[in-house]
């Protein structure tokens, strides 16, 4: 496993990014940072998906005048594009909610701006 680490490094990077994102989501109290944490989580899953499709020496998966050699997988690229669009919609909605919470409570701290507990 260790000898193939250079080839597997994108997977390690994706998991490290996911770790960073979960660290932000757990330990950072600022609401904007929580939004950034969700965006980084989305990026890590996108990186993981694109890396899954890579084949060594592969070319773009287009059949018209295709050069010789293996093609990278196209399905995961479609999954990644869909996920990017979903992340855009989620980020837009969540940022507008953060603006509204700031207008109502005057603070961006996740502990001070909550009014419901128990």
């Amino acid at each position: 496993m260790m000898e193939n680490l250079p080839g597997n490094f994108p997977f390690v990077a994706a998991v490290l990014l996911m770790g960073v994102a979960l660290y932000i989501l757990i330990f950072r109290r600022n609401l904007i940072k929580i939004v950034m944490g969700i965006a980084i989580l989305s990026s890590s899953v996108n990186l993981f998906l694109v890396t899954l499709g890579y084949r060594a020496g592969g070319v773009a998966p287009i059949y018209t005048e295709a050069p010789e050699g293996p093609m990278v997988l196209p399905v995961v690229q479609a999954l990644t594009l869909t996920n990017i669009v979903i992340a855009v919609a989620t980020s837009a909605l969540i940022l507008s909610l953060v603006i509204r919470i700031y207008r109502h409570t005057g603070t961006l701290d996740s502990e001070k701006s909550r009014r419901m507990k128990g």
């Binding site: 979960l22 757990i26 330990f27 109290r29 929580i34 996740s110 502990e111 419901m116 507990k117 128990g118």
Partner: protein, 116 residues
């Protein structure tokens, strides 16, 4: 039959329950008919009686919802103290619980796998 659930040891037929309920209600009606006939609404008989004390206004004498089951909460004070503390309402804690449940179920699944 469309009303019956029957499998193994259990049997449930709501029509039979309704018939039994109707019979009991008929018996209850006959008990009620044995009661007092001289009952006039609107006189002192129908007013609230507090051992001769003055009856406060509706606003003060209404028992509010928060006061119900006081004895139950008093007995289980330690349990409720322990269970309300995790319910913080902070978003970060919700993610912590998600990671915790994932970790615990992964550990359980792998330990059972190793023990096989």
């Amino acid at each position: 039959m469309t009303s019956i659930i029957e499998s193994g040891y259990e049997f449930w037929n709501p029509i039979i329950w309704l018939i039994a309920f109707a019979v009991v209600m008929v018996i209850v009606y006959f008990f009620r008919r044995q009661g007092q006939e001289k009952y006039k609404k609107g006189e002192a008989q129908a007013q609230i009686f507090l051992c001769g004390e003055e009856v406060p206004e509706a606003e003060q004498r209404q028992v509010r919802g928060g006061n119900a089951y006081w004895g139950f909460f008093e007995t289980l004070k330690e349990y409720y103290g322990g269970i309300i503390r995790p319910h913080t309402g902070i978003v970060n804690d919700y993610v912590i619980w998600f990671i915790a449940v994932m970790a615990v179920s992964a550990v359980v699944l792998f330990i059972v796998e190793l023990a096989k």
